[in-house]
């Protein structure tokens, strides 16, 4: 996985390769797909939990000032 194993060899090469992260040149597309899955997944998970929270709270029908009884001392 290591793209660089010896800096002296790497920097003294005729053409210095710029990309030095692990898996350079072979893993970028896979990483992007993984990133997109995480991003979309986040929306799916948070949408579900937000919907549940909102419908639970909506059922209780609190008044506009009910929250005042929940104000803590600090």
């Amino acid at each position: 996985m290591a793209t660089v194993t010896n800096w002296i060899d790497h920097l003294s090469a005729k053409e210095v390769v710029g990309a030095v992260y692990p898996g350079a040149g072979s893993t970028e597309t896979l990483l992007v797909i993984l990133g997109i899955v995480i991003w979309i997944g986040w929306h799916v998970i948070t949408n579900k939990s937000e919907s549940e929270e909102l419908s639970r709270l909506a059922k209780k029908r609190h008044g506009a000032n009910d929250h005042k009884s929940n104000i803590t001392d600090w």
């Binding site: 210095v16 390769v17 710029g18 990309a19 030095v20 992260y21 350079a24 040149g25 970028e28 597309t29 990483l31 992007v32 990133g35 997109i36 991003w39 929306h43 948070t46 949408n47 937000e50 919907s51 929270e53 909102l54 419908s55 639970r56 709270l57 909506a58 059922k59 209780k60 029908r61 609190h62 008044g63 506009a64 009910d66 929250h67 009884s69 929940n70 104000i71 803590t72 001392d73």
Partner: protein, 466 residues
């Protein structure tokens, strides 16, 4: 990098943009404080988290596709040919500034020893994206779902503003060539579009419960914590200063860039690669801020919320031409923008029952729109680019700055790329039942459950100390 002067220039430029990014972070800190200060106690925590979560959402999508759009779309596509490859298609070829290098899987979208600029430039634009999304966030507090806001934030932050930046801010943008569009510090490119987008969403979203009486008279739901709002706006001013620096190229030799044989001319330039100075824009930033504050204090009769917001609106209004204005011109333009934005805000509120909770549509949208139009008159005849000068509608050369081009540009920013997409996306989300929180939740407060559990925690702690 093997020659020392070249290395110094590159690393100075890298550091310069990095500093602007850190400064611009304060814009978001300010927006978070400002929004929480403007919201009611029972909505505080959700308001804060809504604005905070736009940071990762816009960042990852900016990485995946937003930055690519900026480099791909300057030609429209299909409206005016690129000066780099003479094609009007999307710029995805092998040319130096092609979008090809900014695909998310490109080796330049990572640590690369051969590229010191892409990451900091990407980040500078990303901070602009956060700002665009955050402007929208303030207008719609206390009644939108976090899910819907996330989608809207991505739409404005990683899609629509970046299209407008490609069209009207990129050195190769078609709006410069065909319209002579000029918007050096983003009166339209960020502020008018974000204000227009917010207005489009507000039309669908509707007002907060209780904002209007049964006869339609607006009620004031003023900021609950004026101090938080004040400090927030001070931080936004500070970050905005960093934004001005970020819109410049700090050091550039325009001689070879413009093809002037034997000429060497090192200077700072604006985003269009035409000369300006960091010193000069500092004059104008402060004078337009002052003009906004002076006018805001008078028109709002000393109201702190509107006076501070007016400082921001003053800068926003003068920003389109602040690379070239005289400081007193900048001050007067800032004043004009504030008066128009303030009056329009209340007129639109009464006439169309639009509940813009923080005046974002006015401060950013109307002031930005007016700033573009004024710029067309004051800078009429200046070249919109250094690469060539031509006529309007020509398309292959760059038109000069002119009132009609700026007015059409303002409509494109505020209406076509701002209000229209905001309205359509909000309509779709509303149709899915995902846009607005239930009425009962809005009345109880989004934080009700959090507050209830905090009270239980407090009771438990209190009983343990008896």
């Amino acid at each position: 990098m093997t020659d020392q002067l070249g290395a110094l220039t590159t690393i100075f430029t890298e550091f310069y943009y990095w500093v602007t990014v850190v400064l611009m972070f304060l814009i978001h800190v300010g927006f978070c404080m400002y929004e929480v200060g403007a919201s009611r106690y029972k909505h505080h925590q959700h308001t804060l988290m809504k604005n905070t979560m736009l940071i990762p959402l816009v960042t990852v999508t900016w990485f995946f596709f937003g930055w690519w759009i900026y480099w791909a779309f300057p030609t429209g596509p299909g409206i005016a040919p690129s000066i780099m490859n003479e094609s009007a298609a999307l710029i995805t070829d092998d040319s130096t500034f092609s979008a090809k290098w900014y695909l998310a899987n490109s080796e330049f979208m990572a640590i690369n020893l051969g590229d010191h600029i892409s990451g900091v430039f990407w980040a500078a634009f990303l901070l602009f994206s956060w700002t665009a999304a955050s402007i929208v966030s303030g207008a719609i507090i206390e009644r939108i779902t976090t899910f819907a806001f996330g989608i809207l934030a991505i739409a404005i932050g990683s899609v629509f503003w970046t299209i407008d930046a490609a069209w009207g801010w990129h050195f190769d943008g078609w709006m410069l060539k065909i319209l002579g569009y000029h918007d050096a510090y983003a009166s339209g490119v960020i502020h008018a579009i974000a204000g227009g987008f917010a207005l489009g969403v507000l039309v669908v979203l509707g007002p907060r419960i209780g904002k209007f009486s049964s006869s339609g008279e607006p009620r004031n739901i003023g900021p609950r914590n004026p101090w938080l709002v004040t400090v927030g706006l001070f931080l936004i001013y500070t970050g905005f200063w960093g934004f001005y620096a970020a819109c410049n190229i700090p050091i550039f030799d325009l001689g070879p860039e413009y093809g002037m044989e034997g000429v060497t001319y090192w200077t700072a330039t604006n985003i269009y690669v035409t000369p300006t100075t960091l010193s000069g824009i500092t004059f104008n930033f402060l004078m337009s801020l002052s003009g906004g504050l002076l006018a805001g204090y008078v028109i709002a009769k000393g109201d702190p919320f509107w006076t501070y917001s007016s400082g921001l609106a003053g800068v926003i209004c003068a920003s389109a031409g602040n690379d070239l204005y005289h400081p007193i011109q900048a001050m007067i333009i800032g004043m004009i923008g504030v008066v128009i934005a303030y009056k329009l805000h209340y007129w639109v509120e009464r006439k169309f029952k639009i509940d813009d909770a923080v005046g974002a549509v006015a401060v950013h949208g109307y002031a930005g729109f007016v700033g573009l139009v004024i710029c067309g008159f004051v800078l009429n005849g200046y070249p919109s680019s250094g690469y060539s000068v031509g006529a309007m509608w020509d398309g292959s050369t760059y038109a000069t700055i002119n009132p009609l081009g700026q007015f059409l540009g303002a409509i494109i920013m505020f209406g076509v790329l701002g209000m229209l997409p905001g309205y359509i996306i909000a309509k779709v989300l509303s149709g899915m039942g995902k846009l607005r929180i239930p009425r009962e939740v809005e009345i109880a407060g989004l934080d009700y459950e959090m507050m209830e559990s905090a009270k239980e925690d407090e009771k438990a702690v209190s009983s343990a100390t008896r």
